[in-house]
Symmetry: C2
């Protein structure tokens, strides 16, 4: 019998931090089937009381307590959320703000919405510029702005370059272009000429052939492009090219976009432009 539990991510703002925290914890309990609900913008005592009521009802119906991961900056609203004591409440600020206040010898601002607010316009501009750059320099569509790129991802078609670049731009403000390695690039023993001036910005992705076949087959079913033989050929050639040219690369097969992006920053020593 699968164990099922309801979990709630409750926040006075977007709920993103509560989701990240709660998600990282509940994924450690693989045998439980979690039903997740995010309740953002719970920023008044009245709203918190309504949630407390809802939690109480669930506790009655389910026969066990729901779990609440919360990020409530205001302790009065936090207390209102708890008033019926019908949930396991894990509040992130409550646990960690105290030791930090002690360490720094000062009070925290207890202000809602700091975490995902726009700190300043420079950060906003950095992020938007990186997103625009990445959109405009996707998939080898144009190559004339590679001088301005922080990194240029290379790899066979459908190896995960585009989402990795977008993640780098959105989260780290990194200007990430990408260039697909296609069969025409494999005959010669050298890098495509447009890439040669930017050798120090190149970073590769590769993927397992059976996985690539699966991904490509959803896009172009039963094509030569998607065939296992062709996927094997392209991957072998692309890896040989990257080795020959000393381009470091990672295998995207079992990695999420987050993992690919953070590994790339770490390995390539990229400087993030945003925190």
């Amino acid at each position: 019998m699968t164990h099922r539990r309801k979990v709630f991510f409750v926040s006075d703002r977007t709920g993103i931090t509560a989701e990240v925290l709660g998600h990282s914890l509940i994924t450690q309990f693989e045998d439980i089937d979690f039903q997740r609900t995010t309740l953002p913008f719970i920023d008044t005592i009245e709203k918190a009381q309504a949630v407390a009521q809802q939690l109480g009802d669930i506790c009655m119906q389910e026969g066990h307590r729901p779990v609440v991961f919360s990020t409530m900056v205001d302790s009065q609203i936090r207390n209102a959320l708890r008033q019926r004591n019908n949930a396991l409440h894990l509040d992130f600020f409550e646990k960690f703000i105290d030791p930090l206040e002690q360490e720094f010898g000062m009070q925290s601002s207890h202000t809602m919405g700091k975490s995902h607010a726009i700190d300043d316009n420079d950060d906003y501009k950095t992020r938007i510029d990186a997103v625009n750059f990445t959109m405009a320099n996707d998939d080898g569509g144009q190559t004339k702005y590679y001088e301005e790129a922080d990194v240029i991802l290379v790899g066979v078609s459908r190896s995960g370059k585009t989402p990795t670049c977008l993640y780098l731009a959105l989260h780290y403000g990194i200007r990430a272009a990408n260039y697909p390695l296609v069969p025409e690039d494999f005959g010669s023993m050298t890098l495509p000429s447009v890439l040669q001036p930017y050798r120090n910005k190149l970073y590769g992705l590769t993927i397992r052939a059976d996985r690539l076949q699966q991904i490509r087959n959803e896009r172009k079913p039963d094509s030569k492009y998607a065939s296992l033989d062709n996927c094997r050929f392209e991957i072998a050639e692309a890896e040989a090219l990257m080795r020959r040219e000393r381009i470091s690369f990672q295998d995207a097969t079992h990695k999420s976009v987050e993992e690919l992006a953070s590994t790339l920053i770490h390995t390539a020593g990229l400087t993030r432009r945003l925190f």
Copy 2:
């Protein structure tokens, strides 16, 4: 005198969770100038010992302890990180896993890398499909696939539609198209005809005129497009159109992309396809 402190985000995996959580805490201390370093993939006792050494050195040099936000699943590695006791260590797993284990009556898996791992291929496909959809349906470039969109963002040029759509796709697997409202749309009293069949998918962004002027001026300095008068005109017309057509919209001026995306999901009642 500004108070400066070094903070470290340390993880056995990417460090993304530690960063998000630590960031939301330190932004509550506005008067401190934090210098941040992420140390990902600290997944052996030896690596943790090397970090502990580094922390000790910093403590000596700075005269106060660095702060470490960590997500270390393995308690032995976590302990190795602490062995010199020269930092304030706040580990997110440590604080919350115990109460969860008690609540669920079971041990957690204590496995690294669950949080950002690829749970299954369906999730991967959902995400990539959403990213591809959003890239292909950006900026009104094509409109023939709007039937497949989960949401279509409208708003004047440079109001924040593209990054919001990409965030929705990457984080929530939502297929988000966007369509710019341009001066040609304002003369008639109706929605652009391509949007009319999808009225229930429309959601608007607006922005303050002085902010829009600033953003547009970076793109096309001293143009009519960027002039304050024109920005005011376009915004007034776009808002009038959205009101007339009963399209709900939010002001993007002071909101981050995360806030815009999560507010949109909440307000429009969108179903996220990924957690």
